[in-house]
Amino acid sequence: MTVAAPASAIAPPRPAAVARPRHLRFWLGALILAAGLVVALRWLGNDYAYFAGYFILQYVVLGTAWNILGGYAGYVNFGAAGFMATGAYAAIVVRQALGLDLLPGILAGALTAGLLGLGTGYLTLRLRGVFFSIATLSLTVVLHTLVVNWDYVGGSRGAYIVRPREVPPFTSYGEYLFIVMLGLAVISVGIARAVELSRIGQGLAAIRDNERAAEAVGVPTLRLKLIATTLSGALMGVAGAPLPYYSGYLNPEAAFGLAYAVNAIAMPLIGGIGTWLGPVIGAVLLATLQQAATVTISSALSLWIVGWTLVLFVALAPKGILGMVRRR
């Protein structure tokens, strides 16, 4: 069935959706970048570089995860720390109960945090968006309380994971963790991009713009929101699962750190919500700055600056860095 351009149009209408997504370009680019990073860091031979790299990549995953619900659908999750800690503690439980290591731990983290997202969403997403946000805030506090009172995972004393000194074929344990997190980052960004370009992502955009209208024209809003919450939660759990392996020790203070909650929101907002690239930019920028800042100023001060940056960006540059670049 052909469509004839109406004579009244000044130019034939260009169907905006015809541009075929460049899937190959993205994956090739991502893999080349990843490989390049691995080679570069191995050449550098500095173990600290691996840990700094892990730190930054963890935020890429966290920010990307948050953006799937926050940027794509417009629902703000204030409890990123809770989801991340869920992943971390799921990994610990799996280790202590079943003796399984990092990779199964990541799966457990994804599953548990995903279920948590689904549950929270199911209970609150039928109502106004603000109620979902408020619920996520108090959820973190509850999870924190739960963990503090749960001796199996060490309660407030914390839990230990012995880090092996060598992990062949990697040159060091640090490199191993770095590469795992790098893989997770590539996968999460890939998933976010796939969602964004799919009808799920387009439906979420409609929900974000005008949920009532979206529902009225046949978009299954609740179903899409639940998909987004579950996926977002699961990926946040994935960001947190390697944490006990990274530090060798995990206590509730660290797992539920405020830094995660604020960064999960600040990075996508500052980088640019609504697309997969924004959280990546925001995470790389902010995480690098914070890593640099922690050695020069106190971590509380650097976090404080993140808070101010968030407020300033949200007020003055609501579309983030990507938005500022695109306007030219």
Partner: protein, 293 residues
């Protein structure tokens, strides 16, 4: 009297007293969230900031915490006005940028909490009033003044607020502004000015609640976090804009939380708050006293 019964009775009574404190904490939110529809999640953080300032002021001037809270209230009123002006200029005017508005208040909350940590350290601060260790006794029931006085002060403050909202022109305008800003404009009243006033008032109330908080328990920068679930649950359950509803919901909440704490330990309090919030959201989001959607 049977010891368990006595325990229960005292649990209920102190729960009611605690509820008085919670009512103070939630009353400001009834104004900002209930009447103005502004999701000020930084409200508890502002309360804690008020609490810290009360400790400083009270220690420095050697006065009672509640008096200090009253003295500092105008300062917080101005702070509230400032926050609203920024919020209105950057977010409210722009329309339905709900996400950015929420992120703004989250940022404010974060800045306050981390700022307090930087200024005062993460440890607890306290300020004991002269009556801090006096307990009245009514038969089997203990009435510690450290809980009774803030509860009464809270009720008094809310009572004053109620009178103001019902009797004064600006008070009525505040109730009207959420429902019909156009009608206000037609009466040559600037809705923005009214909202500014109301929001400033809500933050001043938060500061007063902070003073009450200091009397009841020591405060630390992170004290606000557990209050978020509490005050929003209470505000929603109380029907959002109803002050009477807020008081009743707060009392019920205080009792539930305290009785749970008495019999199962205090560490489960956040769970009570969250569970309560979820129940309210699931079954009756318009609250016990609100109108159905």
């Amino acid at each position: 009297m049977d010891p368990t019964l006595s325990l229960l009775l005292n649990g209920i009574v102190s729960g009611l007293l605690l509820g008085g404190l919670y009512a103070a904490a939630a009353s400001g939110l009834a104004v900002s969230f209930g009447m103005l529809d502004i999701v000020n999640i930084a409200h508890p953080a502002l309360m804690v900031a008020g609490a810290f300032l009360v400790v400083i002021l009270g220690t420095w001037l050697g006065i009672d915490p509640l008096l200090a809270a009253l003295l500092q209230a105008p300062l917080f009123y101005l702070l509230g006005v400032g926050i609203y002006v920024a919020y209105h200029h950057f977010f409210e005017r722009r329309g339905d940028e709900a996400l950015q508005g929420l992120a703004f208040f989250f940022g404010v909350m974060f800045i306050i909490e981390v700022g307090l940590v930087m200024a005062f350290g993460p440890e607890q601060r306290f300020l004991d009033p002269w009556y801090g260790f006096v307990t009245l006794r009514l038969g089997e029931i203990d009435l510690p003044l450290r809980m009774l006085v803030p509860a009464l002060a809270a009720l008094a403050a809310i009572g004053l607020l109620y009178l103001y909202l019902q009797r004064s022109f600006t008070g009525l305008a505040i109730a009207a502004v959420a429902q019909d800003p156009e009608a206000l404009r037609l009466m040559a009243v600037n809705p923005v000015r009214i909202k500014r006033l109301a929001f400033g008032l809500s933050v001043a109330l938060a500061a007063v609640a902070g003073g009450a908080l200091v009397v009841v328990q020591p405060v630390e920068p992170s004290s606000g976090q557990i209050f978020i679930g509490r005050v929003f649950a209470i505000c929603i359950m109380g029907g959002m804009a109803s002050l009477l509803g807020t008081i009743l919901a707060a009392l019920a909440f205080g009792v539930a939380e305290n009785v749970t704490a008495t019999f199962y330990g205090p560490s489960w309090s956040p769970a009570v708050a969250f569970g309560w919030l979820l129940l309210v959201l699931a079954f009756r989001p318009q609250g016990l006293f609100g109108k159905a959607a």
